[in-house]
C-alpha cells in the first residue's frame, strides 16, 4: 500500500468540493478518477500533487505524511491538461528541467542529464523532436513531451489531469495504448483524471467513480460495468432506461417485460427501479404484450427501436440490425432484458431514454 487518502475534505467558498474521500492506491497501480465536471476529481489530484491543500483529512505515502511536504518534496510527476510546457525552451530543455533545478550537490553532470533526456526521448518515441519548441509540436507530441518532463525526475507517483482531453479521437486512442505501454514498462504508480468512461475502462487497473465530492464506487472496470453500485453509476455507465418494477422473492416483475434472465437479488419485496442499457433490451414480437413499436431508425450497424405502451411509457432499445428484421412499425412487442441493475425504491421518474451517452460530459447538460 503506497498512497493512503482518508477523510479528505475541501471547500471553495460555499462549495463543498470534496466530502470525505477514502482511497488507497497500491504500488504500481494505474488508477482512473472518473466523474463529471464538478465531481471533485481534479481537486483530489491537485491535493495529491501538493498544488492544493485539504481542509480536513490525511494523505500519506509509505507512511510519511504528505500534507507536511511541499509539491517539490513529494517528488511527483504532474501532467497538466493543457501540458503547461515551457514555451521558451526546446523539448530537450523542457524534459531536462526537473534535473537542472536540483541543488548543485545532487545535480547530475551536463552529460549525464543529456544522456537521461536522450533515453527518455527514445523511450517516448519522440527522438526527432529534441530541438523543437512546443509551439512547433502537435497536441499528441506535446502530451508525450509533458509526460517525458514529468518522468525525468523519476517520480514516486505520476499524476495526469485529463491527459487526452484536448486531443482528437484517433490520437486519443493511440496515446491511450501508448500510455498503458509506458506504464507497464516503468511500473510507476499512476493516477489519472478523466470524464471519458471508455478511456478509464480501457486504461485503468481500477476505476474510482466520483460524483459531487464523494466516491460512488471503486472497482475493476468489469466489476463496475457489470455491477454499478449506485443509481448514479448506473446512469453514468449508460444504463439510461429506468423502469419501475415490483420485487417478489428476489425477482423483478413488470407488465410486458421478460426479466427472467436477471439473477435473483437480495432486495425486499415491493417497488424498485430497474436500470437497463438500450443495447441490453431485445424487443420480441408478442401479440399479447402492451408495448408497440412507434419508431425505428437505423444507425448503420444498429437498429434503434422505440416502444411505447398505453400509459405513455417510452423505452428505447438498440439491437443489431439483423436481429430486428421481423419488427414492423406499430407491431405489439414484449421486451426481454438481457442484463440490468435493480435498486430498491421507486424514487426515479419513469423511463426517459433518449440517447446513450458515451461520456459524462454528454450525460450532464
Amino acid at each position: 500500500m503506497t498512497l493512503a487518502i482518508s477523510h479528505l475534505a475541501r471547500r471553495f467558498g460555499a462549495t463543498q468540493v470534496l466530502r470525505g474521500i477514502d482511497l488507497q492506491v497500491r504500488q504500481g497501480e494505474l488508477i482512473a478518477l472518473l466523474g463529471p465536471s464538478g465531481s471533485g476529481k481534479t481537486t483530489l489530484l491537485r491535493i495529491i500533487a501538493g498544488l492544493d491543500w485539504p481542509d480536513a483529512g490525511a494523505l500519506s505515502f509509505d507512511g510519511s505524511d504528505w500534507l507536511a511536504k511541499s509539491a517539490a518534496e513529494r517528488r511527483i510527476g504532474f501532467v497538466f491538461q493543457h501540458y503547461a510546457l515551457f514555451p521558451h525552451m526546446t523539448v530537450r530543455d523542457n524534459i531536462a528541467f526537473g534535473l537542472s533545478v536540483l541543488p548543485r550537490a545532487d545535480r547530475p553532470g551536463k552529460a549525464q542529464i543529456a544522456a537521461t533526456v536522450d533515453r527518455l526521448l527514445a523511450f517516448l518515441q519522440i527522438g526527432g523532436l529534441a530541438d523543437r519548441y512546443p509551439a512547433e509540436l502537435s497536441g499528441g507530441q506535446r502530451q508525450r513531451v509533458a509526460l517525458g518532463r514529468a518522468m525525468a525526475i523519476e517520480p514516486r507517483v505520476l499524476l495526469l489531469d485529463e491527459p487526452f482531453g484536448a486531443l482528437d479521437a484517433q490520437v486519443r486512442r493511440d496515446l491511450r495504448r501508448w500510455l498503458r505501454g509506458v506504464h507497464d514498462s516503468t511500473g510507476t504508480t499512476t493516477v489519472f483524471v478523466t470524464h471519458d468512461q471508455e478511456e478509464a475502462f480501457e486504461l485503468a487497473d481500477r476505476v474510482v467513480v466520483m460524483n459531487g465530492g464523494v466516491i460512488e464506487q471503486i472497482g475493476k472496470p468489469d466489476e463496475i460495468y457489470d455491477h454499478p453500485a449506485t443509481p448514479f453509476v448506473a446512469r453514468f455507465l449508460g444504463l439510461t432506461v429506468e423502469l419501475p418494477v415490483t420485487m417478489r422473492a428476489g425477482r423483478a416483475h413488470a407488465a410486458g417485460l421478460d426479466l427472467t434472465v436477471l439473477p435473483r437479488r437480495a432486495i425486499p419485496d415491493g417497488p424498485a427501479t430497474l436500470f437497463l442499457r438500450p443495447a441490453d433490451i431485445l424487443p420480441v414480437p408478442d401479440p399479447e404484450a402492451p408495448f408497440r413499436v412507434t419508431e425505428m431508425a437505423t444507425t448503420g450497424a444498429l437498429l434503434r427501436i422505440v416502444a411505447e405502451d398505453d400509459t405513455g411509457c417510452r423505452i428505447e432499445s438498440e439491437v443489431p440490425r439483423r436481429d430486428g428484421r421481423d419488427l414492423r412499425q406499430g407491431q405489439p412487442v414484449g421486451l426481454r432484458a438481457v442484463a440490468g441493475q435493480i435498486f430498491p425504491g421507486s424514487g426515479q421518474q419513469p423511463a426517459q431514454p433518449i440517447h446513450t451517452p458515451k461520456t459524462l460530459k454528454e450525460a450532464r447538460p
Binding site: 536540483l102 518532463r149 514529468a150
Partner: protein, 277 residues
Amino acid sequence: MTPAAAPAALAPRQDLRTANLLIGLAVALTLFIVVVPLAYIFWRALSEGFAVFAQNIMAPDTLHAIWLTTVVAVITLPINLVIGISAAWLIARFTFPGRKLLLTIIELPFSISPIIAGVCYLLLYGRQGLLGPALAAGDIKILFALPGIVLVTLFVTSPFVAREVLPLMQAQGSEQEQAALTLGASGWQVFRRVTLPNIRWALLYGAVLATARAVGEFGAVSVVSGAIRGQTNTLPLQIELLFNDLNIVGAFAAASTLTLIALVVLVLKTVIEGRTR
C-alpha cells in the same frame, strides 16, 4: 493584393475617391501636427551650422541637464521594474481583500495631472510641509534636489511596467509555474527560468515606455526641482529655460537631443513590438 482586387473593382468608384480623400487628410494632418514640427527642431538646431550646435550642447549647464536626466532615468528604471513585476505578480497570482483597490492605485498616476503630483510632494516634503521640519532637523534635502526629482518621476512612471506585464501574466495563468514547482524548482528558480522568460518582452516594452516618460517629464519635476541651473535642471526644464532666455539655437539644440532620445526609444519600442507578435 490580389484577393482584395476583386471586391475593389466591383465597388462603386465613389468609395475609392472617399478612401483616397481620407487617406490624404490623415497624411496631411500627420505631416503638420507631428512630422513638420519635429523636423523643424533639427533644422533650427542646425541652422547656424554644426559648430554652433555642438557648442550649445557642450554648454556646461546643458551638459549637466543631460547628465541629470540620465541619472534620474537610470535610478528610476530598476525601481520601476521591481515595483511593476511585484504588483503584477501579486494581482495576477493571488486573490486577497483589496486587490481591486491595489489595481486602481497602480493606475492612479495615469489619471492625475503630473503637476498635482509635484504639488503633493511640495506640500509633504516642503519647508512648511508635513514632514518639512523633521527633514530639516535631520538635514535631509529632498525638495530642490535629486531625491525629489527621482520621487516625482517614480510617481509619474510607476504604472507603465505593471500595466504591460499584468495582462500577459493573467492570460498565461499559473500552470507553467505550478509545473515547475512539481518538478522541484525553488521559488527563485521558478521566477528566473519560467516567469521571467514568459514576460520578458512585455517587461522590456514597459521599461522603454517608463524610461521615455522619465526622460521627458516636465510638469511634476518643474514643481519639485526648483530649476537651479547646473544643479537641478533636467533636460526638459533646461529647454524651457533656454527658450525663455531667448537663446533659440540653444533651446533647439537641447530639444533636438531630447527628441533624439525619444526617437531611439520609439525605434526600440517598434522593434520590441515586432518581437512580441
